[in-house]
């Protein structure tokens, strides 16, 4: 029954929440973009540049939160680029997004190599320390998972609540949803579709970049090439899984991460009988399965991937 005992292990739950954090940020960011009607396939690259910039800022001597801020700003800039090309110019969101990913990823590698030309082992920074919330973290099994994490994890949870509130309970959120569902109607209401979509993409991309920064500043303390390793694409699948709702996105990311943490421990338990690559494949296979299962009942934003041009039908 060792495979069941994993669930009673505190470290399993701690790891699950840690793995979930970048996915929460990424999925949340993508939800914001797609709610406004813009598919952002730049996510993989934006997470990479967030990871690099956040880490590099701290490595150059700035504070940790300054690093997070810089990462978010950089993510926002790439979001702005994506929005400029896809919203007013109406270019293909698929191709532009892939272009943004290629650009942001290669730029991260280039800048990193330029600043640190010859390093064999990646230099490290003093990363975020776990913040203990006294009392609550003493709850058995899941206490530490929820109440002894690094500040960015708490920030992720708070972001979900804030984004959900803004999207569903404020005029701004309703405007974002409206331009994603029926831009012509939004325009008739006097809303500026271009500006709202652009702002949503910038804001969403900033979240993605913070997700990337979490990896280099909380989960690890160094930057590696290819460290995002498809997490961005998994977030795109999680958005569908979550039916474009922030709350479900949180749930989806946690479920996914729990599975990931579980397979890692199972791998140690089973040993080398099953090749480790099988376990590494699981997250990607799971994402595809999630897409298939959810595909029948998705209520995607009606104007997703449809560029809006004023006065055209």
């Amino acid at each position: 029954m060792e495979w069941l005992e994993i669930f009673l292990n505190t470290s399993f739950w701690v790891a699950a929440v840690r793995i979930a954090t970048p996915l929460i940020f990424g999925t949340l960011g993508e939800v914001i973009c797609e709610k406004a009607g813009v598919l952002n396939l730049g996510i993989e690259g934006i997470m990479t540049i967030g990871a690099m910039v956040g880490w590099m800022t701290v490595y150059q001597g700035a504070g940790l939160w300054t690093g997070v801020l810089f990462a978010a700003v950089c993510g926002g800039i790439f979001g702005l680029l994506h929005a400029m090309l896809t919203v007013p110019l109406g270019l293909s969101q698929h191709v532009t997004g892939i272009g943004i990913t290629l650009l942001a990823t290669s730029l991260s590698s280039y800048v990193y190599r330029l600043i640190l030309p010859e390093v064999n082992s990646p230099p490290r920074i003093q990363a975020f320390e776990p913040l203990d919330i006294p009392g609550l973290s003493a709850v058995p099994i899941i206490g530490e998972a929820l109440f002894k994490q690094t500040p960015l994890t708490y920030f992720a949870f708070i972001s979900v609540i804030v984004v959900a509130y803004v999207l569903y309970r404020t005029p701004v959120g309703l405007a974002v949803q409206m331009v994603g569902e029926n831009p012509a109607a939004a325009e008739a209401q006097g809303l500026n579709v271009t500006i709202i979509r652009t702002c949503a993409v910038v804001c969403g991309s900033a979240f993605m970049a913070v997700g990337g920064a979490f990896l280099t500043m909380s989960a690890f303390n160094a930057f590696f090439f290819n460290m995002i390793n498809g997490r961005g694409w998994i977030c795109i699948a999680l958005v569908v899984f979550a039916s474009w709702r922030p709350g479900k996105a949180l749930l989806g990311a946690l479920l996914f991460a729990a599975f990931d943490a579980y397979q890692m421990r199972l791998q140690q338990l089973i040993g080398s009988e099953i090749p480790y690559q099988i376990f590494l494949m699981m997250p990607y296979v799971l994402s595809i399965l999630a897409l298939i299962v959810m595909s029948r009942r998705v209520g995607y934003p009606q104007a997703l991937m449809v560029p809006y041009r004023k006065g055209e039908r």
Binding site: L85, L91, L107, W233, A237, I288, L291, S295
Partner: protein, 349 residues
Amino acid sequence: MRLEARTNIPLGFMLLAPVLAVLASFMLCAGLVAWSGVPVLEAYGLLLQGALGSGFALAETLARTTPLIFTGLAAAVAFKSRFWNIGAEGQLYAGALIITVLGTGMLDLPQELMIPVLVICSAVAGALLLLGPVLLKLHFGVDEVVTTLLLNFIVILLVSLLLEGPLKDPMGLGWPQAEPVTEAAELPRLFRGLRLHSGLLLALLLAFIIWIVSIRTTLGYEMRAVGFNQKAARFAGMPVNRVMIMTALISGGIAGIAGYSEVAGMKGNLTLDLSPGFGYTGIVVAMLAQLHPLGVVISATFVASVFVGADAMSRSAGVPSYIADVMVSVSLLCMLVSVLLVRFRIRWS
């Protein structure tokens, strides 16, 4: 701001678009090059020399062009029908994998038979890999971008698994690499002492065939129609689903052949670093060519020279070679904008 479609775009304008995009990309990247402390013109000079400056450089560039023609064609064929196959990387490895299984001794045929058989096998492997995503798209409405992207990761892990397991070369000194393909399976070199191999001829032939298919056959016409307006194509009685599946099979098949060409022509055996992102770069190649099969040959040559030239520049001047990836991706984005400017007139009102 409004976009107005231009009528009657002169051919010269269409040809100007990629030139403008490339120039813009070189200008935009000048700042990054200057940041590395190397004078910009000197760096670009070194790049040009490294790519085209000698017979050896030219052969290296053309050797690098070969896989990019395949992956560029794969993307161009799919994108023309608005099927977003981002999985050429995975399909390339699928082709390479089947070649490694069949070409390292299992299949024993004379060379004249071996090469065509292996080309077909690698195409089938690539095509089958893309069959899943296209069926999921047609029957479940699952976005093919995400499925093809995720499949890339799965296939590469599968390759890693097999290279450390059943396909591992016992003579490989413990490195995860496969046995070299047999002599009959090898694509012959074009010149003695150069890495340029006959895969290039295969790529050129394929580009020509795809071009003929797209302008001279019913299938090509239907593929364009489906990409142009799916509803109209359906209304006109075209078998849209079947056309989509055919598109996917052709696209995946071409990408699969890239795997054969790289294993049997370039590297000799399958390793995990067989492709440094040829599948993704193929998207840029296709877009620069405006999805034209013959244009793919030219844009693949351009992209390959940037990569080979940047490697040389990196060795002699110390600009990190990642500049090539930056320049190529910037030229993709510039290309998207310049095609837009060619097709539309911007009215500020």
